[in-house]
């Protein structure tokens, strides 16, 4: 039996009838056509499917679609708010050469967004620790770590003067 659920994705409200055995990953990719979120391992080990639910990074492959009823989801498509100008995290991934095949990128960027929202100036060690649950098969980890450091700096510069300390 399908369940009627209401939820928000990247600021847009949705109302959908979903089967309880549908994962959030399947719903995002197949029902909403938001294919920026990838499916890697399907077991919560690789981080490629990372999205934010009510502001917290989770694995969309391990989340039931029905369980986001009443909740707010953010995917990589929500990073560039206007849909045109990229987020500083995305810009820095391009600038530092952190994107190779790109399959891990959206998960990495969501993890970076999650990290920088709680820790705006992470050390290299803190970034590496946070990315421990994200696999890049092209193994371009150094550039990804660098991209997140660069993004942290950029985002600090973008904040209004009075917020800087």
């Amino acid at each position: 039996m399908k369940h009627n659920i209401k939820f928000r994705v990247n600021g847009d409200d949705y109302s959908l009838a979903v089967e309880p055995w549908r994962t959030l990953n399947e719903m995002l990719r197949e029902d909403l056509n938001l294919t920026g979120t990838k499916l890697g391992c399907g077991t919560g080990d690789c981080g490629a499917c990372t999205v934010l639910v009510d502001g917290k990074a989770v694995s969309s492959c391990l989340t039931l679609a029905v369980s986001v009823d009443g909740k707010s989801v953010m995917t990589v498509e929500g990073l560039a708010e206007s849909g045109e100008k990229l987020h500083p995290i995305q810009e820095s991934f391009i600038k530092t050469g952190a994107i190779q095949c790109g399959f891990c990128t959206s998960g990495m960027e969501m993890a970076a967004y999650n990290l920088l929202s709680v820790n705006p100036s992470p050390t290299e060690q803190e970034i590496r620790k946070e990315l421990a649950g994200h696999l890049c098969r092209c193994t371009g980890y150094n550039q990804i770590v660098e991209a997140i450091s660069v993004a942290a700096e950029e985002m600090k510069n973008l904040r209004p003067e009075e917020e800087k300390s």
């Binding site: 089967e19 055995w21 077991t43 919560g44 989770v58 989340t63």
Partner: protein, 293 residues
């Protein structure tokens, strides 16, 4: 990789959840974080007919501490909630040691401590530290509540004394005693995001330079988290010095009953039990000295 079909309920209150569990007795499973269940289901190792998601019950997500009652962790408190809690960081460092090695940020934002226990993996990282610290658990069904030591909870890989109609509502850990300390040490092929090949939890109490209390629990070396009773016996009453600890760790290695699998050989596990147990006891001793009365 698609999930099998099931009926789904997300009750908003405990009474509602308990009624559902009584009505849907056939193939009903309680789900909290779901991070273990979802993997088992997508691999065809678990085919529940009905899932009762307890995460929407607001009064189950809490962590409370008071010096007289100790620590109480509600069953939908997340692993990330545990890591952030100032009381647990101050008074239960062995639990922090276990939880910070578990999974990754995303999974710790979904998974619960109670779920790690109910999943009953022999390698469950949270089990050894909680067991050595004397944790108890509350199981609630429509027929009433029972509270039992975590030591009596596990029956085999994935098997516990919890009935399908019961919900684990809380984990209770006593207040730390003076002159006592606990530690958890584990080893795995990778430093993080990996299942433990061996884990060792130790709790000791040292008074007048003698071990007056000891509890040792080994993870991933038996069908359930294993209480090393002979190791404990070698410590209790013995003088506090290095030889006592080194000897006890050797006994722990003999007590372990590991198998060989993808993560490690039985031989390697036995050797590592000795190393991990030695380190855990020594650290527990240091912590007991820091908490001298």
């Amino acid at each position: 990789m698609r999930l099998p079909r099931f009926e789904y309920f997300a009750p908003k209150s405990l009474p509602e959840a308990l009624t559902l569990l009584e009505e849907k007795t056939d193939g009903v499973h309680v789900m909290a974080g779901g991070t273990d269940m979802m993997v088992k289901m997508s691999h065809g190792r678990l085919t529940p007919k009905t899932i009762v998601n307890i995460k929407e019950i607001p009064d189950l997500r809490y962590i409370r501490f008071s010096p007289d009652k100790g620590l109480e962790i509600g069953s939908t408190a997340l692993l990330s909630d545990v890591l952030k809690d100032s009381y647990i960081n101050a008074y239960y460092p062995a639990l922090i040691q276990a939880v910070q090695t578990m999974a990754n940020t995303e999974v710790r934002n979904m998974a619960t401590l109670a779920g790690n226990l109910c999943n009953a993996a022999p390698s469950a990282d949270s089990a050894p530290p909680l067991m050595v610290m004397g944790a108890q658990i509350s199981l609630l069904s429509a027929k009433g509540e029972r509270r039992l030591p975590l030591m009596d909870f596990f029956k085999g890989p994935g098997i516990t004394v919890k009935a399908p109609t019961e919900i684990m509502t809380a984990i209770h850990v006593p207040s730390p005693q003076s002159n006592s300390g606990a530690s958890y040490k584990r080893i795995s092929a990778r430093c993080g995001v990996d299942i433990a090949a061996v884990g060792s939890g130790a709790w000791v109490k040292i008074e007048a330079n003698k071990f007056t209390g000891a509890r040792i629990v080994l993870g991933a070396v038996a069908p359930v988290p294993l209480r090393a009773v002979e190791t404990e016996a070698a410590l209790i009453g013995a003088p506090f010095h290095d030889e006592t600890v080194i000897n006890a760790a050797r006994i722990a290695s003999n007590e372990a009953k590991p198998i060989s699998d993808v993560r490690a050989t039985a031989h390697y596990r036995k050797r590592m039990v000795e190393v991990m147990t030695k380190r855990a006891i020594f650290e527990a001793c240091e912590r007991s000295h820091a908490r001298q009365s």
